[in-house]
C-alpha cells in the first residue's frame, strides 16, 4: 500500500526540473506533471530540522521540533523528536515508501509496528496524519490525474490538476486538487477532499517562502489547514541539507534508538 498524500517531511524542488516545462514543444500532460512533482518532492537524500506548530480549536498552540532524515528519494524516512520534553527521543521510522512504520517510545524503550489503519491517526495531534507524512510516489500509484487548466497562485502561474482516487486505492482522500508552479514544479496549494464525499473539502495545504538550499528550491514553510476542525498546523524548515551521505543503518530499529 502506498501513501496517499503530501510529503512535507523534507520538501524540496529539484532544479533539474526548473524551466523544463517551457521547453516542451507538445502540450504537457497531467501524468508528466505529476511525475515531475513526485520527482521534485523527493530528493535523493536529505537531513533537516523541522518546527511543527499546531493551532488547536481553542487557539492554543503546541510546538514540536524534530530531526528528519530521508534516503532513496523518500523511500526511507526517519523522524526524531527533540522538543517538547514530553516526546523527546520518540522516533518514527518509515520504510518502503511508508508501507512499514515503526514508532519508538523512549520512556518504555519499546518499538511498536503500526498497521496501515493507524496511519489515519493524527501525528501528535497535528493536522498531519502519519500517512500525510509518508513519502513516495502516492500521487502516481493511488490517483488518476487530469489537467484542469492554468491558474495563478501566490503570484505564480500554476498548472491546476485534479487527482481522483483509483478504484483499488486505500487512500484516505477521495480527490485532490493541486496547483503546481510551472517553473519549479512545486505544488503551491493542495486541496484534500473527504474520503466519503468528493465535494467536501477536508484539508488545504499551502507551501510558501521558497528558498534555494543546496541548489534546490525548498519551501521553508508549509501550512496544513483543517477545514472541518478549523485547526491548522504549520511546518517550518529550520535547517536542511541535501548534500548528505546517510548510512542505511540509520533507518533501522537500532538507528531509531540512538
Amino acid at each position: 500500500m502506498k501513501l496517499k498524500a503530501f510529503t512535507p517531511l523534507i520538501f524540496s524542488a529539484g532544479l533539474f526540473c526548473a524551466g523544463s516545462a517551457g521547453a516542451q514543444t507538445n502540450p504537457i500532460t497531467a501524468d508528466t506533471i505529476i511525475q515531475r512533482v513526485t520527482r521534485v518532492m523527493n530528493p535523493a537524500q536529505s537531513k533537516g530540522k523541522m518546527k511543527m506548530t499546531i493551532t488547536t480549536t481553542s487557539k492554543k498552540t503546541r510546538t514540536f521540533v524534530y530531526l528528519a532524515y530521508a534516503k532513496n528519494h523518500g523511500e526511507k524516512t526517519l523522524m526524531k523528536y527533540l522538543e517538547p520534553s514530553r516526546v523527546k527521543g520518540q522516533a518514527i521510522l518509515m520504510l518502503n515508501n511508508a508501507d512499514d512504520i515503526w514508532v519508538y517510545f523512549p520512556r518504555t524503550r519499546r518499538v511498536r509496528k503500526l498497521a496501515t489503519h493507524a496511519k489515519k491517526q493524527k501525528m501528535e495531534g497535528s493536522d498531519f496524519s502519519y500517512e500525510d507524512m509518508g513519502a513516495g510516489d502516492a500521487f502516481i500509484d493511488e490517483f488518476e490525474s487530469r489537467l484542469l487548466g492554468e491558474e495563478k497562485k501566490q503570484g505564480k502561474l500554476c498548472y491546476e490538476l485534479e487527482l481522483t482516487r483509483k478504484p483499488k486505492s486505500t487512500s484516505g482522500y477521495s480527490k485532490l486538487v493541486m496547483w503546481v508552479d510551472k517553473e519549479s514544479f512545486v505544488p503551491l496549494v493542495i486541496d484534500y477532499y473527504h474520503d466519503d464525499d468528493s465535494t467536501l473539502l477536508e484539508k488545504e495545504l499551502v507551501c510558501g517562502n521558497i528558498e534555494i538550499i543546496d541548489d534546490i528550491p525548498t519551501p521553508m514553510q508549509v501550512v496544513m489547514y483543517n477545514k472541518l476542525d478549523r485547526t491548522q498546523t504549520s511546518m517550518e524548515l529550520v535547517e536542511v541539507s541535501y548534500k548528505v551521505d546517510l548510512e542505511d543503518d540509520l533507518f533501522t530499529e537500532r538507528g531509531m534508538k540512538k
Binding site: 520534553s85 523527546k88 518504555t108 498497521a115 496501515t116 489503519h117 474520503d195 537500532r254
Partner: protein
Amino acid sequence: MRKFLCTCLLFLLLSVPLDAQELDIFGYFEPQFNLIYLDDNYYQLQSNKLRVDLKSNLGENLEFGANFDWIVYHGKREWNYWNFIPERVTSRYSSARMWRYRFTFDDRSFLDNAYLRFSFPSFDLMVGKQQISLGTGYAWNPTDIFNVKDLSDPTYEQPGHNAIRVDWPLRAGFSLLALYSPESDWESSGKLLRLKGRWQHFDFSITGTETEWGVTDYEYPFVNLFTSHKRRLLGGDFAGELLGLGVWGETAYNFVGDFEDFWELLIGGDYTFDSELYLMLEFYHHSLAKSDYRDYGLNDWLRFFYQEQKSLTRDQVYCLIQYPLTDLLKIGGSTLLSLSDGSIALVPTVLYSFHENIEFTLIGNINIGKEGKAYGSSQGHSLLLRSLVYF
C-alpha cells in the same frame, strides 16, 4: 558486579574531556491522587514522583544514560493483601496469619537506570541498569520474564534491570540480541538470546531465556516459604497486518525444573476507524492459572498480587477503546474480561493535554464481577488522578 559497573562508568565519565560531554538533563514530576473504595470504606493514597534523566554522548560512539527516581507517599500507606482476597478463601485460614501479607508504600529513592552504550560498526554493547522490553503484546508479554505490566496502565515505564546486552544487526533485516543479567552466580543469572527478522510486512522473533523463577508458598504454616526454580523459556512473537487489521501474537513455553511446566499465548489485533476511534483486542491464555474460580486458592491470589504469576484466571480478554474527543482531550477505556470465570473490570480513562509538557490523566478501576472471581468486588474500586509535568 555492581561495584565493577559503577567503577567502569565513573572511569569512562572522567576519562572523556569535559568539552566533549554535553549532559542533557530532563525528566518529569508526577503527582498522583488515588481514591480507593474497599469494604464500604474510602481510602486515599497520594504519591509524588520526581524522575531526573541524564543523557550524554561521551564520544561519537559512546552514550551514557541514567535516571534517578524519588517517590514519596502520603495517606493510607499500609495495606494488606488479605483484605483483597475473597472471604471464601480467607475463611479457610486463621486470621492470625494476616501479618504475612502486609505491604507498605515506603518512600523510595533509587537509581532506576544507569548504562553505557557503545556503538561499534557491527554491534551495540549496552552495560548497566537498563529497561528490557520484549514482545509485541500490549497488556501481557509471555516472552518477557523480566517485567509484569500493570493491567490498568500497561504502557507505564518498567524498572531497569542490571544487564549486559549486545545487539547485532545481521543481513536482510535480521538482528540478534544476547543479554546476560548477572545475579550471584552463573546458574542463577538471566540469559537471553533473541533472533529478530522481517518477512514481507511482518516482524517476528524467536526467543530463548533461562533464569531463576521465585515462587512462594503462602499457604505454608507460620512463614511464606520461598523456593527458586530453574526456568527455561522458548517463545516467539510477531507483528504485522492482515486484512487491514493490525495483528500481533506472542507465545512461550516454560520448562520449570522441579515445578510445573506452563505455556502462555497472546493474540491481538487493532483497528483505527475513519472517525479516529481506535479499538484493540487481546486474548491471553496462561496454562498455570485456574479455569474455575472456585479453585482460586490463597497461593493463586497472592502469587498474582506479588507478580510471581502474570494471571490469576486462565483465559482472558483485554479490550481498549480510545477516541480523541477534541484535539487536546482523549477519552476511552479498557475492559478486562475473564473468559474463565465471567468477571469484568472496567477501566475508563481520560487524557487531557493541558500544556505542551503537562498532561492530566484520570484512570478508573471498577470491578463488577461476583465476589470470589478474578475481577470481583473483593478487589474494590479505585480512581486515579495523575498529572505529569515534563521538563
